[in-house]
Amino acid sequence: MEELLVLLAAFMAGLLGALIGIGGGVILVPTFTLLLGMDVKVAAATSLASLVATSAISSSAYLRRGLVNLRLAVLLEMVTILGSITGASLALIAPSWLIELMLGVALAYATAAVVFKALRAELPRRVEGLVEHSYYDEALNASISYTCRRLKLTAALSFLAGMLSGMLGIGGGVLKVPILDLVAGLPLKAAVATSSYMIGITASAGSTVYVFKGLIRPYLVALSITGIVLGAKLGTRIMVRLRSKVLRVLLATVLAYYSYRMIIRGLRDYGL
């Protein structure tokens, strides 16, 4: 029964990860801790190793379709890794409730912005910028060309996203997708695909340390990856056919959930 639950949770994580470019740890970690009673560190380590699979399976499909902006991913991932290292160091001195509240408010803002953008035109405007890229959108039956706007601000926010990721031990996807979509001005599908690709690199860097600490449970990883592979395969097929507005609604729902959880957690840690 427990195996079936893990497989189901992993399938959902893979599906959601492929659809909106997040890792899926939000599904796996509670499954491991609340349903299987695992220690949170073991759960996080096992989840992180499994999330590499979500990223690899999703981004392999997106790379074939030309959705991943490799140059932008490589550039921003460098900044994210540096932010993650800084965040892990700052976590020792900064009060966690303050970080959680800040993240909660930032995610609430991102939710509102994603919803607001969903109400506007779907096709991205062609604007002057850097790291130009193009891909074929199956849902729109059109070739989409775009550039990255506000690259410096995007890089700075990616550093902050990496910092929060390192401080709170959360996956970066929930922050990366809104940054790429709202700040860099990438079409949502390109943002999801590029974020998917980046998550694998971040998760890989974190997992390598855990492997040798004995915190990863191979049997659970095997079950999780099996579920993730199936979920992500289905998710990538659905994502390329969906219209961006549907993806936005899905993304906004997950962001709102994260925001609510972070604010509640922050207030609880503060003592309220």
Partner: protein, 84 residues
């Protein structure tokens, strides 16, 4: 080249998963960990190919950045291996 990067990502996970299940079936924890490590090291392996791809397209700076990221992951692997 993008196809090669995509294939590396896809096959890396599938091969790692196969080794992982084989290790579990044979009751070999070291083989299981080899499977986990194969999965975990798939993105940096693909990143090396991405660096080559970017260099071929003339984006040498991006290629160097990609290789630095691979070095960072490799160093975290070494830290994990050496730390008690």
């Amino acid at each position: 080249m993008r196809e090669a990067i995509a294939n590396t990502l896809y096959m890396g996970v599938l091969v790692g998963l196969a080794i992982l299940w084989l290790g579990l079936a044979l009751g070999s924890s070291s083989l299981s960990y080899v499977g986990v490590l194969t999965v975990v090291l798939t993105p940096p392996a693909a990143l090396v190919l991405a660096a080559v791809h970017l260099a071929r397209e003339g984006y040498v700076l991006y290629s160097v950045i990609a290789l630095i990221e691979v070095a960072v992951i490799a160093s975290s692997l070494i830290v994990g291996l050496l730390s008690p």
